[in-house]
């Protein structure tokens, strides 16, 4: 009982309750963030044993240096055309997010989640995969879908829950699904997809296929048991899967220390499972692409899973229901030491003579126009406020064929 009196000399026990370095009113500080200089971290062969790269779970792989130069052993995986395509992908995601936030304010949708500041992670990763590989994303990987070329208008149709919504009004906005685009149906329940990705990868291997899976989870959600389930299965069966942790520092109001991110890196969790683990600058498009390619090659060559911690920052609110000024310093986003992924890639392209401010502006304008056109087209099919798909459709797809009790209920509902 708590009124137990400690024996003489026995010190009362104490519990640690983690605290972030800064709260509202404090000056923002990322003093605990370990950052290596670009180009300094080694690039092992893809068949390296996990035990031989323990250091890479603590270091930070980076390619772009402060001058915008691509340096070190991880540089050189992409040509100028590919880099421009990557820049355009990220600009599209950003423009799309901005437009959908506006649509939310206008009442066209009930909800939205942006990925501001984290665009490089999903955009560069998708370009390192084969189109037939399968991603098991969270709600913040719209970059995977956009980079895969999924029609923007269908994303908006889903967000508006309109008559052309591919998910027929059933799912919360942004909970997309597209098997064709290699994008597994998003669940609202955190972490569940992580082990499912491992199962998909196991099936691919069991079927002597060549496709790999890519699993996604946030820093906060790594606390869920499903994260550990995925690790033990991936490691036991050497599943051809990439295990991605997006460490954007926050889980709603809870800083990453609550998922134990302040005691050890997230990447280092791979070590106990014998899984190759890498920690990467997630705002460095070139680093994300290089490490993703490395992990994909490793999986495809039957060298097993890779755990990657993408270090990035959630610049915006958690969702349209959230106000981060209640729990973190207002200017924290502007002091994030790894900068902005779009700015960094843009500067690199300019530095190597493959881009200019004018071309950038043209590209941004073009992308805006494409996004606007998609939103306008979707609006012609309705929004949450206007007409949507037939309510009777809610009785479809509960089962492959409708049992009698549902048929009766549908009639009772008047459809």
């Amino acid at each position: 009982m708590s009124d137990h009196i400690p024996e003489a000399g026995g010190e009362p026990l104490r519990l640690r309750i983690p605290e972030p370095v800064a709260r509202p009113g404090d000056p923002p500080a990322f003093r605990d963030l370990h950052i290596d200089r670009a180009g300094e971290v080694r690039r092992p062969p893809i068949d390296v044993a996990a035990a031989d790269i323990i250091d890479l779970g603590a270091d930070m792989i980076r390619v772009l240096d402060v001058r915008g130069e691509a340096v070190g052993p991880w540089a050189g995986t992409l040509g100028a055309d590919e880099l421009r395509a990557g820049l355009r992908d990220m600009l599209t995601v950003r423009a799309f997010d901005a437009r959908m936030l506006r649509a939310h304010r206008q009442g066209n949708t009930s909800f939205y989640m942006q990925s501001l500041g984290e665009e490089a992670v999903s955009c560069a990763h998708r370009r390192a995969l084969d189109p037939r590989d399968m991603c098991f994303p969270t709600y913040r990987q719209q970059g995977l879908l956009i980079t895969a070329g999924y029609p923007l208008v269908d994303m908006v149709n889903q967000i508006y829950s309109n008559s052309h919504d591919p998910l027929r009004g059933r799912q919360l906005p942004v909970m997309y699904s597209s098997q064709a685009a290699g994008f597994f149906s998003i669940s609202g329940n955190l972490g569940t997809q992580f082990i499912q990705a491992v199962g998909w990868a196991m099936a691919s291997a069991l079927s002597s296929d060549t496709r790999i899976a890519s699993a996604w989870i946030g820093d906060g959600a790594t606390a869920e048991s499903d994260f550990h389930s995925a690790m033990v299965f991936a490691s036991t069966y050497h599943a051809p899967v990439i295990l991605n942790i997006v460490n954007n520092q926050w889980a709603i109001s809870t800083f990453q220390g609550f998922a134990r991110g302040d005691s050890a890196t997230f990447a280092s969790r791979g070590h106990g499972f014998g899984i190759a683990a890498l920690r990467v600058d997630g705002n460095d498009y070139l680093a994300v692409h290089a490490v993703s390619s490395w992990a994909a090659q490793r999986a495809r060559a039957n060298h097993g899973p890779t755990l990657i911690e993408w270090v990035t920052y959630r610049v915006g609110a958690h969702s349209t229901s959230d106000d981060p000024t209640a729990y973190r310093p207002q200017d924290e986003p502007s002091t994030w030491p790894l900068g902005d992924p779009i700015e960094r890639l843009k500067n690199h392209l300019i530095r190597i003579g493959e881009w200019s401010d004018e071309r950038h502006q043209q590209c941004a304008d073009a992308v805006d126009a494409v996004v606007r056109a998609a939103a306008e087209e979707a609006e012609r099919h309705g929004t949450l406020r206007s007409e949507h798909s037939a309510p009777s459709s809610m009785f479809d797809d509960v089962f492959a064929s409708m049992p009698d009790h549902l048929r009766r209920q549908r009639e009772q509902a008047g459809y």
Partner: protein
């Protein structure tokens, strides 16, 4: 109702230093619905703290603390996210007293927002009460108003057994009656919004007659109490609306007395129909009041589909559906 829940925490924590509160975002921030706002500042971060995102761990840790002698009151951010904790709740918390012959107990309260009406889609709208009422050893409580929320929550925290405390999130800001097209009416304009200061309890297992009437009995709880009220007003039917408040333990005497008086009974809940708590209520009415019944017991519930996003008002059993069922029950012979 948010303030009432917060106040219940304060009262319970002030009276008993063994009460600790934790869950996702409940500490510094005070919960995504603000129900624990200010508790950390007031009681310190060893009495109210954030937790990692792991529902199984939240409940499992609460059980361990309960076994030590604390009285944890934990929050699951949405009822839809309780499933990872289901094993800890069902196999552990519910049976600990029984399997250890009282040697260890789990005096814990597990709070969670429940129900739809906020366009939350299938993972922010569910009403999973029946998966708890089906389990021996669990109490399941669901308030419909601020007065009861405070009294029931204090009673739950003080209770020596595990209590599942479901908070209809659509009632947080007012007595929502299903008319989603109308402006929100705040609790301040409602008599049940008046919450006394200090300590009081509403005993678990006592129902409340929300509206006395003679034509038929509506057995319900949570949001649908207010929907039933609206349906009674709109149809002009003199319904007796019983707010069960606590599903396990259940106030059978009040139910039976009412059905014997009115001879007709409707059971209403937002959860899906099949194997819902309505089936239990319907069976009990049949067992205890069959000879008083002048019409079959009717259930008005959510459909047996996942909770839809865009079509939530086609799913939600609103006043129109409930009113039609009332009329049909009166006309039945």
């Amino acid at each position: 109702m948010v303030e009432a829940i917060r106040d219940a925490h304060i009262v319970a924590m002030e009276r008993d230093e063994k009460v600790v509160v934790f869950g996702q975002d409940v500490g510094y921030f005070g919960g995504v619905f603000r129900c624990t706002h200010g508790l950390q500042q007031r009681f310190g971060k060893h009495r109210c703290f954030d937790s990692p995102i792991n529902e199984s761990a939240i409940v499992g840790a609460a059980i361990g603390m309960g076994a030590y002698g604390l009285r944890p009151c934990v929050e699951i951010q949405f009822a839809d996210y309780v499933y990872p904790a289901y094993d800890q709740i069902v196999s552990e918390a519910a049976r600990l007293r029984h399997r250890s012959a009282g040697d260890f107990t789990a005096p814990i309260t597990i709070r969670m927002p429940t129900g739809g009406g906020i366009f939350g889609g299938q993972t922010h709208s569910q009403s999973p009460e029946a998966i708890f009422t089906h389990v021996a050893g669990l109490k399941t409580v669901i308030p419909s108003n601020p007065y009861d929320a405070k009294g029931l929550l204090i009673a739950s925290i003080e209770d020596d057994d595990p209590v599942i405390f479901l908070e209809p999130k659509r009632l947080y800001n007012g007595p929502f009656d299903g008319h989603h097209e109308r402006p929100i009416v705040p609790w301040s304009a409602h008599p049940l919004g008046e919450v006394p200061d200090g300590h009081y309890t509403v005993a678990l297992g006592t129902a409340r007659i929300h509206r006395a009437g003679n034509d038929l009995t509506v057995l319900t709880y949570g949001t649908l109490v207010h929907v039933a009220q609206a349906a009674a007003e709109e149809t002009g039917i003199d319904a007796e609306i019983i707010d069960l408040r606590s599903l396990v333990p259940l106030d059978l005497a009040t139910i039976v007395e009412s059905v014997r008086k009115t001879g007709r009974c409707i059971v209403a809940h937002e959860a899906t129909l099949t194997s819902g708590f309505g089936a239990e209520l319907s069976a009990l009415v049949q067992e205890h009041a069959l000879w008083s019944l002048e019409a079959p017991v009717v259930r008005v519930t959510g459909w047996d589909t996942p909770y839809p996003h865009a079509h939530e008002w086609n799913y939600f059993p609103g006043p129109a559906r409930l009113g039609a069922a009332m009329r049909a029950t009166l006309d039945a012979r």
